[in-house]
């Protein structure tokens, strides 16, 4: 774990990997809920957690435990969010080729994976889901599409994700869902929040 300063009121905590990020995020949000930490934003990412809006970063340096990585897996008490998906994406055959399988094989692997929301970014409600093994990481498309429709289920690098709104995008498109990924009338508005467990199921 390394702690880096990001201006007068923020620190960036660097961690060995996504598991450690999830654990640290849980610990830090817990500290904030109990009133032991003041931070306007706690932002997990691929290898880091950013604490922004911290009145006294030096105090937080002293407050942080030496080792933010717990020995045990983060508790499995999170409810699992299910995303019903129709697997008919434009890049499904390309992904099958990259994985050395067929369409049914891709669906079996994707629906058989327990994903976790590692972090959000890119757009409100866009969650980076980890869980696929290294064998199933895929490159981005060489040329990004100018418009990927809302609800598209996609893959890139180690991540799976669902586009909350239509946007340009370079991920490999494998399917689509009708789930509302970002809904301002809901609290929190994002369906997928950091730490949540996610499973995809094939639309009947």
């Amino acid at each position: 774990m390394q702690v880096r300063r990001a201006g007068p009121s923020a620190i960036l905590i660097e961690l060995p990997g996504t598991e450690a990020v999830s654990a640290a995020y849980e610990l830090l949000t817990g500290l904030r809920e109990r009133g032991d930490l003041t931070a306007a934003d706690i932002v997990p990412a691929a290898r880091t957690v950013l604490l922004d809006g911290v009145p006294d970063p030096d105090r937080v340096f002293r407050l942080l435990p030496r080792d933010l990585t717990p020995a045990a897996e983060p508790d499995g008490q999170n409810t699992t969010i299910t995303i019903t998906t129709r697997y008919d994406g434009e890049d499904l055959d390309d992904v099958a080729r990259l994985w050395g399988t067929d369409r049914a094989g891709v669906i079996a692997i994707h629906t058989g994976t327990a994903f976790r929301v590692a972090f959000c970014g890119f757009a409100p409600g866009f969650a980076y889901l980890t869980g696929l093994g290294p064998r199933h990481h895929v490159p981005r498309r060489p040329t990004p599409r100018t418009r990927v429709p809302a609800g598209t289920v996609a893959l890139a690098g180690p991540y799976s994700g669902v586009y909350p709104t239509a946007s340009p995008g370079g991920w490999q498109l494998i399917g689509r869902t009708r789930a509302a990924l970002f809904d301002l009338d809901r609290d929190p508005p994002a369906l997928l929040t950091p730490g949540a467990t996610v499973r995809f199921v094939e639309e009947a």
Binding site: R5, A6, G7, P8, D41, A46, T48, C120, P124, P189
Partner: protein
């Protein structure tokens, strides 16, 4: 209901308050007024709490009609203003009678003028803020000709002031910078360049960030940086070595290393810097 009828919106006018911090973990930008100090000042002059929503008017050029008697205050980029064809003063509370037309001319310096209305612009808040977020599209749409913007109830009278001191937008900027979090991804020469060279604000500057042009900042570490959280004022350096300073609508995570962070108290002035403005950086604190 009292309202502000927009006759002509100008080049780019949005509703802004102090933004929606606290949602970065869901991918939601902080947003809010680019010159937050100017918005606070406008609100104070109009008798509003500091976080009331007003109009951020890029380069001036707005014409509007008050449907009822209103108190207005114009701050930020200096612009000529008339109320019912009579010249009026920016940076002071203005009593506007019902039906009067307010004409804001073009900014003579700076980029963004702020118009506060006693009671605040009362469009529905989104996640606790009335700010237009140009990156994600949250909040009200940019203001267009013909819009009728509702005004909230007045909570306090405007203060009695003769003069509200304020500095004009500077012709050249010196921004205090905190090195990190990824200054070690750059050569020692690049860190020296950042503190010694003159950069200029590029025309490619918007609410997301101010691009700067000048000597390229060379990397010491090649390869990709995994996504990580970004703060306001972060100086991100993409592959071409030209720094980009993130402003209010910045994304919540990025993939290029951040060599330093502009002190938050200097970010307002960068939000007022026109393309071509010279920019220098000085150390905010020893490492």
């Amino acid at each position: 209901m009292r309202a502000l009828e927009i006759i002509r919106a100008g080049v780019r006018t949005t509703v802004q308050d102090l933004g929606r911090p606290g949602y970065a973990h869901l991918g939601v930008s902080r947003s809010g007024a680019l010159d937050a100090g100017a918005l606070r000042r406008a609100n104070r002059l109009a008798g509003n709490p500091p976080g009331a929503a007003g109009l951020e008017i890029t380069l001036g050029g707005l014409r509007a009609r008050a449907t009822g008697a209103l108190t207005l205050a114009l701050t930020g980029a200096p612009c000529p203003i008339t109320v019912g064809r009579r010249p009026a003063d920016p940076e002071l509370p203005l009593a506007v009678p019902a039906g009067a037309v307010i004409e804001i001319g073009h900014a003579t310096a700076g980029l963004r003028a702020y118009l506060a209305v006693g009671g605040g612009i009362a469009v529905p808040p989104v996640l606790g803020s009335r700010s237009t977020d140009t990156l994600s599209g949250l909040g009200p749409a940019p203001v267009r000709d013909g819009d009728v913007l509702p005004v909230g109830p007045v909570t306090a009278p405007p203060p009695g002031v003769d003069v509200a001191p304020h500095p004009p937008p500077p012709a050249a900027l010196c921004l205090r910078v905190w090195f990190g979090p990824r200054d070690d991804w750059f050569t020692a020469a690049a860190r020296h360049t950042l503190l010694s060279a003159e950069y200029r604000v590029s025309p490619q500057t918007d609410r997301v960030g101010a691009r700067l042009t000048g000597p390229a900042l060379d990397r010491a570490v090649d390869g990709e940086l995994p996504s990580e959280g970004l703060v306001l004022g972060a100086i991100q350096v993409p592959a071409d070595g030209q720094p980009l300073v993130f402003l209010a609508d910045h994304p919540t995570t990025g993939g290029y290393p951040v060599i330093g962070v502009v002190d938050p108290s200097d970010v307002d002035r960068l939000g007022q810097a026109r393309p071509g403005t010279p920019v220098r950086f000085s150390p905010a604190a020893a490492r």
